[in-house]
Amino acid sequence: MPDRSLRPPAGAVRPFQLPEVRSVRTSEGLEIRSMARGGVPLVSVALVVEAGEVRCAPGEEGIAVLTGDALQGGTLRRTGAELAEALEGYGSGIRVSTGWDASTVGFTCLADRLEAVLALLAEVVREPSFPAPEVERMRSQRLAAIRQRKMDPAGLADDELDSDVFPPTHPFHRPLGGTETSVAALGRDRVAAFAGEAYSRVGAGAVMVGDLSPDQVLDLASRHFGSWPAGAMGGGAVPETPSGGGRAVRIVHRPGAVQSELRLGEPGPPRGHPDEIPLRVANAVLGGAFTSRLNMNLREKHGFTYGVRSAFEARRDGGLFSVGTSVQTEVTAPALAEALAELERFAASGPEPDEVAKARDYLAGVFPLRMETTAQLAARLTELIIYRLPNDHHHRYRDRVRAVDVETARAAVARHVHPERMSVVIVGDADRVAGPVESLGVGPVSIEGR
């Protein structure tokens, strides 16, 4: 019989060896990073193209996202419908993910179909035809999606926070996919021109994960992309974000809302900042795990919410530190007070040694969970390209996490957590929450939409 009163002892740690990341280059200089993964009959491939939203000109916000959407509208050889039938006939599909910094175009497929699907990927990236009806269709879908997001309280809260944290002249001020005004003005010619500039190079890099040797990877890449010029990741397109003034609260009115979406935020450091790993550890303590201070307070102690989280979202140039939760309307003011109290306590004295130790253990321990599948591994490799990280970046992650001590974590918190100047956004019923929130006296309160 086990002694159930004691947590069972752990066995001997079994080291997790992440497979090596190898690099090969085509004759044109396209770098392909790959990881060999046996045992599963799947391959994941992605091309990273420097075609993110930071490239867009003023007034054309959303052009990169729309161009990404429209890539599969047709190629020089086949219509969009024929393309879909071909891809899905192989059990696959091309996924385009356009962010601020880059556009990733890729797929996962069963290994015996790799040649065929890779050929289709190359065709889509190099020979898109952008038929006008398809571009118009994608534009209508984007406009409808923008409208949907405005009525989704969580998405709206995220966008409203961005517009408070980043000034109007800053790229991150507006939603990633653009506004109804900017997207309505985009048409086939602009999309084709944008693609001509951004996609004329086959990519800033590519990734392949599967049961492939580096020779096989180079052979595949050379045959499918080899004759096209490689691109490069640019950068530095994003200005510094000025630190804000004092704290201010903005309530975006949603009449009759039974929950308030609460967001607090301030500019955060970019990827590659020396504080990045210490902040990951510190954030796990504050609001990046179920047992975090914010979650234990707002959910488990007070029952204010189904969940609350904090995050340092690091982009290539700049980033966002935010706290987010959805709380019952009646408790909006007390929930905001508790969230601020936790932030102030955290900013003032940082995490405790035992919290830092647990956070390190947690982050190091869950590391393999994001490295299980071919698709996950391909995503990890695309991060190396987008953020210009070395091939051993993920291999060194756990050691860097384990090296964070409480002083380092506290110093990073002091540099990057400033509750006294965070923007606060509440998407909720202003008739019911404005009064109690004003009474908190946490900053000037403005109300919109009433």
Binding site: A10, G11, G93, A144, K358, Y362
Partner: protein, 423 residues
């Protein structure tokens, strides 16, 4: 095509154990399926199975409140649980050398939850669940669609008539006595399947399972599912619910009664839903999104339920100016046209499902869950590996026959959302 080496065992207390070793990554996924869900809830206690699931994370006889999350996160694990119509599952993935921790936690709450249950925890988790209901159902556009849909698809005395989340009134009424009774009735080893997938030696792992779970006492036979499960194969007509609400775009949901997952005819329904709405070569996408442009997105899926009749759901979201009647008619046209489905469409749908299934079982957590599912429903975890063969046996004639028997206006539940201020 898919091969998962596994062994199955049954403990003397009735617990079924599935072991699927795989040493590719030094982690292990631990998964428990209890054969209880919203379908087992008695009248006046909708949402209780899910509320009970929350209580299972609040500690047990030897695990303090908060201990479950603390211990697993400190060990480098991720964990969660979920409640559905036919079952409740609990799962964690953690470094392989901490297997005992997961086994200890799962065994302690399977065998000895009640000493840790108190009114304060129940009240707190009731608030959390109410927030979940508000966040998902009441604060979001289209949030209550399944509440409306289930009420149309199933008669009031069928266990699927009500939602998993339940009603606010019933959540408020839940008592400690209910928690105790529910635990004794349903949370017993004979009503559970434990699956381990990942890096372990099967003989060693089994001895550990026996060690932690072996002396959990068996329970009494589980009562039958309440209500009337034996309902007609078709609804009997087209039933509708039209809602004017704070939604950005018109949307039409269509629900169809289909054979249960345990019936071999389910696979034809599954393939039919893929042909209709999975991917850009699907019929709904091709006709409604690409050609007619009455919809901006379409969804279709068949739910693998086992209590009486399962359901297929389709939905199409219109544009701001889309006429909802036209949208509904366009969906109906495709349902009625599916009788002429072509072999190439069936082939494509099955090929997609194949890649999706291979991807799903690539991840240990979902592999373990699928194994628990097949063990629970079919009494045979390895039935999972035959899923693709079952799909491959579906012919265009099968899908056509299904379409003619089940996709007509005599078997249609329609929920329409109209933006406020629009006709």
């Amino acid at each position: 095509m898919i091969s998962i080496p596994l062994t199955r065992h049954e403990l003397s207390n009735g617990l079924t154990v599935v072991l699927a070793p795989d040493s590719a990554v030094p982690i292990v996924a631990v998964n428990v399926w209890y054969k209880v869900g919203s379908r087992n809830e008695r009248e006046g206690r909708t949402g209780f199975a899910h509320l009970f699931e929350h209580m299972m994370f609040q500690g047990s006889a030897h695990v303090p409140k908060g201990g479950h999350f603390e211990l697993l996160e400190a060990a480098g694990g991720s964990m969660n649980g979920s409640t559905w119509f036919d079952r409740t599952n609990y799962f964690e993935t953690l470094p392989a050398h901490e297997l005992d921790l997961a086994l200890w936690l799962e065994a302690d709450r399977m065998g000895w939850l009640l000493p840790a249950v108190d009114q304060e925890k129940l009240d707190n988790q009731r608030d959390v669940v109410k927030n979940e209901r508000r966040q998902r159902y009441e604060n979001q556009p289209y949030g209550d669609w399944d509440e409306r849909m289930q009420a149309l698809l199933y008669p009031p005395d069928h266990p699927y008539h009500h939602t998993v989340i339940g009603s606010m009134a019933d959540l408020s009424a839940a008592s400690l006595e209910d928690v105790e009774a529910f635990f004794r009735t349903y949370y017993q080893p004979g009503n559970a399947v434990l699956t381990l997938a990942g890096d372990f030696d099967p003989a060693d792992a089994f001895s550990r399972v026996e060690r932690y779970f072996g002396d959990i006492p068996p329970g009494a036979p589980v009562p039958p599912v309440p209500g009337r499960t034996d309902i007609d194969a078709v609804i009997g007509g087209t039933v509708r619910d039209e809602v004017r609400a704070a939604v950005p775009l018109p949307r039409v949901y269509v629900g169809v009664r289909i054979p249960p997952y345990t019936d071999s005819d389910f696979h034809a329904a599954d393939v039919a839903s893929s042909v209709l709405g999975d991917g850009r070569a699907s019929r709904l996408y091709r006709r409604l999104v690409r050609e007619k442009r009455v919809a901006k997105d379409v969804v279709a899926y068949a739910a693998p339920l086992v209590t009486g009749r399962a359901f297929m759901i389709l939905w199409a979201t219109g544009f701001p100016g889309t006429d909802a009647t036209e949208l509904e008619r366009a969906v109906a046209e495709e349902l009625e046209a599916l009788g002429d489905v072509e072999p190439a469409e069936v082939e494509r749908a099955v090929t997609r499902s194949e890649t999706q299934l291979v991807q799903e079982i690539e991840q240990l957590s979902s592999r373990a869950d699928r194994l628990s599912m097949h063990q629970t429903i079919f009494g045979d975890a390895s039935h999972l590996t035959q899923e693709i063969e079952h799909l491959r046996r579906v012919t265009a004639a099968d899908v056509g026959a299904f379409a003619r028997s089940s996709l007509g206006p005599d078997n249609r539940a329609v929920v329409v959302y109209l933006p406020e201020g629009k006709r």
